[in-house]
Amino acid sequence: MADGQTDVLVMKGIAKGFPGVQALEGVDFTLRSHEIHALVGENGAGKSTLMKVLTGVERPDAGTIALAGRTVAPRSTQQAQALGISTVYQEVNLCPNLTVAENVLLGHEPHRRGKIDWRAVHARARELLLRLNVDVDVTLPLDTYPVAIQQMVAIVRALEIGSAKVLILDEPTSSLDAAETAQLFQAMRTIRAQGTGIVFITHFLDQVYEISDRITVLRNGALVGTYETRALPRLELVAKMIGRSLTELDEMAKTKLETARGIKPETTVSARALGKSGAIAPFDLELHAGEVVGLAGLLGSGRTELASVLFGSEAPDQGTLAVGGAPVEDHSPLASIQRGVALCPEDRKSQGIVDELTIRENIALALQASRGWFRYLTVEQQYELAEKYIELLNIVTPSPDQLVKNLSGGNQQKVILARWLATHPRLLILDEPTRGIDIGAKAEIQKLVLSLAEEGMSCMFISSELEEVMRTSHRIVVLRDREKVSEFSGEVQEQELMQAMAGSAR
């Protein structure tokens, strides 16, 4: 620790469980003053839960929090803010219709002679923003400015209203370009110099190395470790995030990818220079019948965007796509389904299940959509369909009339899978199909994907768990920073994959 630095925040032994999943287990986290501390981990690592505990949104099952030496237990964001813990989220929780100055001081405006002293409000807001090198007209509405500036305003407010002991920045750079990021970092350095401890949550490893002093890695709800940034090579960081130690990697023999047993030469889907600006750079990709192509990459590398563009839920703005040899003109989910392309979305809860409908209805949904309004699947037919897949996929439920919201995560995922299988697609894209599912169900799904391929289906398997991708795919495509960077097949060493994902072998 440098001179004058103190432990401003000490979290010890934090544990938090939800029905079905233990989000955090025995996690320690220390934040010093005058420090920028990066918090990293893949999806489900527990970063957001840890911050929710810190800001009072969730109560920990176990563990203590000490702020500047005093034990605290915040029960709400207001309380946390009063204690000096402020958060700025990715969605910038401000009021876009009010002016910049108002947003900074809303609820705490200085008064003069019984009414708000606007001159003072504007002056103070301007002064605070200038300290962070932000020179804007504070009398304009917040939404005249891009997200980058809005974030600065949120930061300024957080520091001004709270006592600025701890500032949490949750994925602040996701919507910023390089110049804006640089500006943000400059501001962060200024804030750090003033003594605040900053928690910097991000998945951009470049930025972690650029700005942070220390790094804490979480994985699957547990603490992997806290390290000095200077002392942690990049590849080692990635390894820790994914769950491998460096020595393990060296010792691991090359893994053979699944042999392409039943891969037919015919191309089911062919994409040429297909891309969407801002989402995914133009890429070439070919998928064959009977083949499983795995998509690997870190969080934010563009995996879901690639899948969306292939499926049509996001329309591409350049390049061509052909399905079964025929070029695709209209990009929409319905057209894709009718053509034989299916996408099992990433967010099961908000994009996949229709929770108040029964299993039977959920399974029949996409098939029915592809048939239109009037070619109705009778209720008997729906039951037949549902029962067939309940058995095939081993969905645990007393009856097909159970509401999907009452099922476990794994079973919900199977229902969604059943929905897509019922449409007999040529290409089935699975985006994080095993996230938040128990081990047993995970294995089932992986086996299922391989058997589908054997029967002639094309599959695309997207997952952030590298070993899963390796175990299930015939070929692996690696993405980094919204761009397809390489393809692997045959024999592959995990280290190679990770290097491709991480971008350098530092």
Binding site: T77, Q78, Q81, Q90, E91, N93, L94, C95, P96, N97, L98, E102, L106, G107, E109, K115, I116, D135, V136, D137, L140, P141, D143, T144, Y145, R157, I161, S174, S175, L176, D177, K276, S277, G278, A279, E305, A315, D317
Partner: protein
């Protein structure tokens, strides 16, 4: 760093809805002043205000609710209830100021009650306030079925006080342009509201609430308390508007202010405050009310367009405003939804264009359809003759010849004079009925005389009298010439009383028994018209 040009555009963007309203107001007023000389008189302008302070006061209260993102449909009920309670309490002998204080408190409490329902029980605002409107209006009839007149001296003074406009009036002779005291009260309310909206923390919280409720909550603002307060304010304003109304018409009735909430909401929306909340200026509401009033006046002055055009025009204008507001909001809403680096401009433009086209098309369809219907109806009724109302042209109808007739003319003292005046295809027909059974039909070109029996005439007279012809229950509902509807002027003399009542053919706002009387007269004269 945003450039000064960008800043200028952005600054203007905020005021665009307000600017649109001002332009519309100027256009409307200019149009009216150009075509109708009467509108150019300054007094007419001030008279516009005279009838509408209650609209302004209520709209100010509604503005707060709408900015906060809610809606208050109960205003008409509260206004009506207030008028009835005021009239009833005054009749019971209460002091005028005590009454005013009481009803204001009542309105405030009622608003607070509804606000609590919406905030704590999470009921949707429009359902809760609609129920509130029903209950309030229903309560009126528990107090009294009929209108209660107000005779209190204080109220009368308040009603008649003229406040002269400096520069346009002569204080010595007490003549010239003036506004009533109520208008001044409305302006005061407006000014207070502007102060609260822009210079108090409460006001800013209301805006924050409408902009993004969740953010406001996370920012530590007293969201729930503010929500209840806006409805409380609206209740207070409705009560105050009711007081103003009761002073204006010097009576109270449960049927007053029907469909009033639509007028109020339309005024607020036309003043530039979107129904989704978050933006809008209280000053804009004043302009919106003015636009509303001016349009109604133009339609009245025109006389050729029926008053229902008002509703349609207001509806179309409101739609246009909503369209503009929606357009401006899409840009902000969609841009925020993207978590990707940049909102895709081309898709955004396409979506916005589609949306604007849809809304513009809808408004156009509405107006075209309505004009088409109008034309079709005119054809059907004209029996094939095209009769298209031409706006602004001089009135073609011959005037009612017996207009203003108070004493039936000529010898033998006619007892009934019945004039039917039609549109361009019909010449005014005047039937004069005498006590001895003579019926003289005069359509301006020829005069015929027929005979009925004195007994029949007497019977019809008795029937008409029994319908309350000479009581207050029958009153004029035809005021302007050249409306599309046709005018009747019926003068009846019986037992020393004479009364003329004018009405519009089939007009729905005429007292119902009027038509019974006309039917009875028809029975008498119809034989004459038969070929």
């Amino acid at each position: 760093m945003p450039t000064s040009i960008g800043g200028l555009l952005s600054r203007n963007k905020r005021f665009v809805p307000l600017a649109v309203t001002i332009v519309m107001l100027l256009l409307a007023y200019g149009f009216g002043a150009y075509h109708y000389a009467a509108m150019r008189e300054p007094q007419v302008f001030f008279n516009l205000f005279r009838n509408y302070p209650f609209l302004l006061i209520s709209a100010v209260g509604m503005t707060f609710v709408i900015i906060s993102g809610g809606i208050d449909l109960s205003v008409s009920g509260v206004v009506a209830l207030t008028t009835v309670v005021v009239a009833a309490l005054l009749r019971a002998g209460w002091d005028a100021w005590a009454v005013i204080g009481f009803v204001l408190a009542m309105g405030t409490l009622y608003g607070a009650l509804m606000g609590s329902f919406i905030t704590y029980l999470k009921v949707q605002p429009f359902i809760a306030t609609l129920a509130g409107m029903w209950i309030a209006r229903g309560m009126c009839f528990f107090i009294s079925d009929d209108a209660i007149p107000i005779r209190d001296r204080t109220f009368r003074i308040l009603a008649r006080t003229k406040i002269l406009i400096p520069g346009l009036a002569d204080p010595d002779t007490k003549t010239g342009a003036f506004v009533s005291f109520l208008v001044v009260a409305a302006i005061v309310v407006l000014l207070v509201a502007i102060y609260v909206a822009h210079y108090t923390r409460f006001g800013r919280t209301v805006y924050a609430l409408g902009g993004n409720e969740r953010s406001a909550q996370l920012m530590g603002l007293p969201v729930q308390r503010t929500k209840v307060l806006v409805y409380t304010i609206s209740g207070f304003c409705s009560a105050l508007a009711g007081v103003t109304l009761s002073i204006s018409v010097m009576s109270g009735h449960g049927l007053y202010a029907s469909n009033f909430e639509m007028d109020v909401i339309a005024s607020v929306v036309m003043g530039g405050a979107p129904l989704s909340g978050g933006t809008g200026y209280v000053f804009g509401t004043l302009l919106g009310v003015l636009v509303n009033i001016v349009i109604q006046s133009i339609i009245q002055f025109n006389g050729q367009l029926s008053s229902w055009w008002t509703k349609i025009v207001i509806g179309a204008l409101t739609l246009m405003f909503i369209g503009v507001q929606s357009y401006m909001l899409t840009r902000k809403g969609r841009a925020k939804q993207r978590t990707a680096a940049r909102a895709d401009r081309s898709i955004l433009m396409r979506r916005r264009r589609k949306q604007v086209v849809t809304i513009a098309a809808a408004a156009a369809v509405l107006l075209v359809a309505v004009r088409g219907v109008n034309r079709w109806v005119r054809q059907a009724t004209g029996g094939g003759v095209e009769a298209v109302a031409v706006q602004g042209e001089a009135c073609q109808d011959p005037p009612l010849r017996t207009l203003g007739l108070t004493v039936p003319t000529s010898d033998g003292a006619p007892v009934i004079v019945f004039e039917r005046n039609g549109g361009p295809r019909c010449v005014g027909e005047v039937f004069t009925v005498f006590a001895d059974g003579r019926v003289v039909a005069d359509d301006g070109k020829e005069v015929r005389e027929e005979r009925s029996t004195p007994a029949e005439v007497a019977q019809v007279l008795a029937e008409i009298d029994g319908l309350g012809w000479f009581s207050d229950e029958l009153y004029d509902t035809w005021h302007t010439r050249c409306r599309e509807c046709y005018g009747y002027a019926v003068t009846v003399a019986s037992q020393g009383r004479v009364k003329q009542v004018k009405g519009v053919d089939g007009g729905t706002d005429a007292p119902a028994r009027y038509w019974d009387a006309v039917k009875a007269i028809h029975g008498l004269v119809r034989k004459e018209k038969e070929r």
